[in-house]
Amino acid sequence: MSQPTEAIYPRSQRSGDLSAIRPQPDSLADVLERVLDKGIVIAGDIRVNLLDIELLTVKIRLLVASVDKAAEIGIDWWKHDPSLSSSARDEVLEENERLRRRIEALESES
């Protein structure tokens, strides 16, 4: 199916990408980008917030440019991830400090 377009648009010597007008099926990234993020939004009767779903939000986040936009549409899982969130990190640091003091206290008793 690519032959006719190949003939009209000879492959570029360097990459070949530009002239490959329709050589392969649309990539999943391209399809998801369009059917999930573009297209007309009209409320249906089945109310499912596409962005409400955990695994999917991770995948969609790959498509979303900025953290601000992600937060705006409700994707904020990293806020609850201790390795990513500063408030969670503060808690861990406080806990460390508490434990360190306790060890010191125990060691000085012995």
Partner: protein, 256 residues
Amino acid sequence: MSARTGRYLYAVARGITSNDLTGVTGLRDRPVRGVDHQGLTAVISDVDLDEFGTEGLRRNLEDLDWLEEVARTHHAVVRAVAALAPAAPLRLATIYVDDDALRNRLDEWRDALLRALDRIEGRMEWSVKAFAPADEPEPSPPDATAGEGAGAAYLRRRKAAVERQRAAGDESAALADHLHLELSRHAAASRRLAPQDRKLSGHEGTMTLNGAYLVATADVEEFLATARELDRSHPEARINLQGPWPPYSFATLEDP
């Protein structure tokens, strides 16, 4: 409950009849049909609400394989319709309980849909992406047994590499702006989409441009010639052209 079906809406088109959709297959191999309403045709197929109801969707959307299959079928139907007539693609998983509910919604959005169809009639979407080459590898850290000064030399190499990368980044960003500007001259409308994550797209290098261009049929040759010329004159970037797509990025309900 198990036998209940809903209407999955793929696109809203103008100027087709249900007959034109004969032979188009939708989700789960069900036939696609048109619901005509006041000059608009809603392109739908029936879906089981076990699979596509609130609970089913919540469960199934967690499954990337399920999502891929549904997304690709949705896209295939939209592509088939857009080849026939001006068509505004719907976002994935827009489902109504019956034809009446669907007609009510079409009534509500009729004017906005007609305006969207006016904008995209006789035009298709083209995608142009540009990629900067992958970053150069990090310099290897100093050998612990090397003499004094190895650490300082390493830091110098690393600093130079960072500087080169920053300069290269500025250049490829400027090139992306230039490509977008030139391509937009031959487009009725254009948008820059967010660069895709390579975990999903698998591309190499850095995606510096993910452009969508709404091009009139009459201007396609000129647009493609421009893209080819830009590709030729900028060997420093890898340029990828795809299309025509149905006008997903431009058939919007609000004026862009």
